[in-house]
Every structure is written in C-alpha cells, then in structure tokens.
C-alpha cells in the first residue's frame, strides 16, 4: 500500500529531514506519525503525496514508485489519495458543497454522480445542512470536517492527514477523530501526523515516531511517548 525504502531527503539549506527511512504501511491500517517539531514528520507525509521528492530512495504508493513519476503524472496520484491539512485549505469563495465537489470535478465526474457523492460525504461528516455556506461562516472544526469530506469524496484507498487537529479545540478534535475512525473502519488506510498526545494514547493504533529524520519507534498500539 505505502512503502518507503531507504528514503533520504536533504533540503537545499542543508537540513536532512529524512535519513534512511524504510517503512511499510498495509491496506486498512491506521498509523500515527509522531515526533518532536522539526523531526521530519511533515516531510515524511509530504513525500507520500509528492509535494516533496526524496533526494534518494523509493516511495511506493498503491504499487507505483512515485519518485520516478513525471510531473504530469502527479495529478493522477493525488486523485487516488485524500489529503487533510492542519489549515484546512478550503477555497474561501466556494460554498461547502462546491469545495467538496471540486475534487470530483477535477476528475471530470458526471454532475449527477458528483451531487450524490458530495451529499453522502457531507452526511458522513454531519454538515449536509450547511452545504450552501461559505467556509468563513463555519467554525474551525466544521471547516476541518469539510476538508475531510473533500479528501474522501473520490473514495481514496489512502487518506493522509498532516496535523488535522492542530488548530482545533479538544471537543472538535475528538469529533474529527471519530470521522477518521469511521473512514478507517470502511477499509481506508489512514496516516496521520499529530502532536496530540491524548488522542494517540486514547485511540490506540500503530505509532511511528520520527526523530532526526529517522524512525525511532514503530509500535502497534504504542503510545505517544513524548512529554507535553
């Protein structure tokens, strides 16, 4: 499903964000990626959707070696993934419905299918009744739910989330986690970078800890393992 082999990433400023990472994530797994700030979590996540390319090594997603992908093949990869960000990344001038539908318009889906799918996922995240609103009219938690809805609307096999609860209060964070668990129980692989100790220690899943660009721990049902 997701496989990294000897991945090394050095930025032009000399920072080494991945220093020989090798890892396999199987279909249907739920994986937390934890570690101190600047340890290389975001780079690890970004390499999965080809926002960053490794300096050396291989990243294989759904059987395809994405390090060897040409620039024009990247859109195809991203259509097979769902990505959720800390800052939601919603289009501010599009309505809730339009924001979610956008991921399907990109793949030239039929309007009837778009409407049906968007309604389904908005229902799943509990925001069907707010579909005509603009993102600015929603709370942070609601915006993140829209972002999740967009990430799963094209039924991806993998959802990648980079600190999805980072900007949310505890109550909203738990709401978001419930949705991720629901997505995971439907068979979707979830990879989530997080700083949220309570969540990792409560909803026990596989924990990959990254420190200094290397995997420091990789334990099924592990705990957060850091103070604070």
């Amino acid at each position: 499903m997701i496989s990294m082999k000897d991945v090394y990433k050095k930025y032009p400023n000399g920072v080494v964000a991945a220093n020989g990472i090798s890892v396999d994530i199987r279909q249907g797994e739920f994986v937390y990626v934890v570690g101190p700030s600047g340890a290389g979590k975001s780079t690890f996540i970004k390499m999965m959707y080809s926002e960053e390319k490794p300096t050396s090594g291989d990243v294989i997603i759904n059987g395809k070696n994405i390090t060897k992908m040409k620039r024009n093949q990247i859109p195809q990869l991203r259509r097979e993934l769902g990505v959720v960000f800390q800052d939601f990344k919603l289009l501010p001038k599009l309505s809730v419905f339009e924001n979610v539908a956008f991921a399907l318009e990109v793949i030239e889906e039929h309007p009837k299918v778009i409407k049906k799918r968007v309604m389904e996922v908005l229902d799943l995240v509990g925001l069907k009744h707010k579909m005509r609103m603009l993102p600015s009219e929603l709370s942070g938690g609601e915006q993140q739910r829209i972002s999740i809805a967009r990430s799963i609307v094209n039924v991806p096999k993998i959802v990648i989330a980079d600190e999805p609860t980072g900007n949310l209060d505890p109550e909203n964070s738990w709401e978001i986690m419930k949705i991720f668990e629901e997505i995971n129980t439907r068979g979707t692989t979830v990879v989530m970078a997080t700083h949220n100790r309570e969540i990792v220690n409560t909803i026990r899943k596989r924990v990959i800890a990254i420190e200094g660009g290397m995997i420091a721990r990789d334990i099924d049902g592990g705990d957060y393992g850091y103070e604070g």
Binding site: P75, R79, V83, K89, L91, P111
Partner: protein, 298 residues
C-alpha cells in the same frame, strides 16, 4: 477533455469574475483606460498617416517643353517626349497640358489681367509627372532632364525633400509612440492581472493538491483573462466610436479642400474597434498565462 468540463470552465471563469469582484474590476478598469488611450492614439495616427500619404501622392514634377515654331514638329516632339517619360520606370502618370491650358491655369490662379496673354501666349506646354512611389520623384526628374526637347523640370527639389523628411520623421515618431504605448499597456495590464492572480495563489495550490492537472487549473484563468479583455474594451469602443462620429460630422465639411482630411467613419471605426478588442483579448490572455504559469511551475 469532456464537453461538460469545457462548459464547467466557461461557467467557472464567469463565476470567478464576480467572486473576485474588486480584483476583476481593477483589471477591467486598467484595460479600459489603456485601450482608450490606444484607441484615441490609433485614430490620430491613422488620420495623420492618411494626410501624409495624400500629400505625398500630390507631389508631382512639371516638365516644360522646348518651344518649336512648327506646329507639326512640336506635336511630334511632344508625343515622343510623353512616350519617353511614360517609359521611365517608376512613372505612374504623365499628363500633358498644352500651353493654352497652362495659361488658363495661370488666369485661374493669378487673375483676369493675365487674359492679356491670350493674344500671344508666351508659355510652354508641359507634362505633369507623378511617380508610383512618391519618394522616387526626384530620381525620375533627373532622368527627365536628360531627355530631348525638355526645357526644364520644376520639381521643387528642396520643398519635396523637406516635406518627405518631415513626413518620415512624423511617422517614425508616431510609430515609436505607438510601440511605447503598447508595451506600457501590456506591462500595466498584465501586472494588474498578475496581482489579482497572486491573490489567488492558494486557490491554485489547493486545486493542484486535489489532483487538478495544469490545464484544468489554467483554462478558467485564461478564459477569465479573455473576459477581462472583452469587458475592458467595451467602453473604449463605444467612446471612440461616438466621439469620432461627432468629430467627423463637425469637422469634415469644414476641412473640404484642405490639406488635412479626416478618414471616413467606416471602415476606420471598425478597424480601430477590432484592434482594441483583439489587443484587449491578447493582453488579458497573456497576462493570465504568464501569471498562472509562474504558480504552476512552483
């Protein structure tokens, strides 16, 4: 690309114009103001050029023919000379004017008292020569001077040279100004459009993150550029048309017989309007293309 995706791009580009209301307004206003300048300038330049061309076309040399007492010999000499002049390469027209016609011209110009000479006409018959390329007229007059039975050639060498020099300078200045204006316009407008697109950098980034191809991102922006060009050219087209119509109606009758002649409203207005809308579309497209390209590369 599917037909409904193309329809979607059209729809999105129009929606986006209204969503980004003030930014669109800024771009359209920039196009309007600059195209208005281009339009006014184009009309002035085309009219000046027309006047210059007609002045050039009016340039002719007058060939005075030797006086030969014998009427028949004179006629034969004149016919031969006309043929010779016509055979010079670059001569567009050689019009014969008898000495009686010359006198009539003189009377017309200088007054009735010259009728005195009707009894004994001292003038010479003449040939008026025009060149295919007015700038060649002095070369032609040199060749005519060498022909038999030519008394003299009146070509107003200095005047012609000064006139042509002046017209060439005026045209060159006009050309430089037009090119300068065009570059300024392209720079100004594409910059305005760029600023509006920079403001939408995040939008492009998000589009790419959900898997939009570059062309999927680019096309609505390009269409938006076209709409900006078209919308921005509407006011200049109307303003220039109405203004020139009125100016033409007011000035054309007064300018009859004058050196400066205004070009007919049609086709001039269609040409200038066409120029403005094409320029508007081109600039809109180019501005969008360059700006989006920058973000798609990133």
């Amino acid at each position: 690309m599917k037909a409904r995706t193309i329809r979607r791009h059209f729809r999105e580009s129009l929606k986006s114009l209204s969503r980004n209301g003030w930014m669109s307004f800024a771009s359209i206003s920039a196009v309007t103001v600059t195209l208005l300048l281009v339009g006014v300038f184009a009309i002035i330049m085309l009219n000046l050029n027309n006047t210059a061309s007609s002045v050039e076309e009016d340039v002719e040399v007058k060939v005075l023919i030797n006086i030969i007492e014998d009427e028949q010999q004179l006629k034969a000499a004149e016919d031969k000379l006309i043929q010779q002049v016509k055979s010079i390469s670059g001569v567009a027209e050689a019009r014969y004017s008898s000495k009686d016609e010359e006198l009539n011209l003189l009377i017309e110009k200088l007054g009735e008292e010259f009728k005195l000479y009707e009894q004994s006409n001292p003038l010479r018959s003449a040939i008026y020569v025009k060149a295919e390329d007015p700038l060649e007229i002095l070369t032609i007059s040199e060749k005519i001077r060498k022909l038999e039975n030519v008394h003299s050639v009146v070509d107003g060498k200095d005047t012609v040279e000064n006139l042509f020099g002046f017209l060439e300078t005026a045209r060159n200045i006009g050309l430089v100004l037009i090119l300068g204006l065009l570059f300024t316009v392209i720079f100004l407008i594409s910059n305005t459009i760029r600023i509006t697109i920079i403001a939408r950098k995040d939008e492009i980034e998000i589009m790419k993150l959900v898997g939009a191809t570059n062309s999927f991102v680019r096309i609505p922006f390009l269409l938006e550029g076209i709409w900006i060009g078209i919308l921005g050219s509407i006011i200049p087209m109307i303003a220039v048309s109405v203004a020139y119509h009125n100016i033409y109606d007011a000035l054309a009758p007064r300018l009859k017989g004058q050196l400066l002649q205004l070009l007919e409203v049609s086709p001039l207005i269609w040409q200038v309007n066409g120029l403005m809308i094409i320029l508007g579309i081109f600039i809109g497209l180019w501005g969008s293309f360059m700006s989006v390209r920058k973000f798609l590369k990133a």
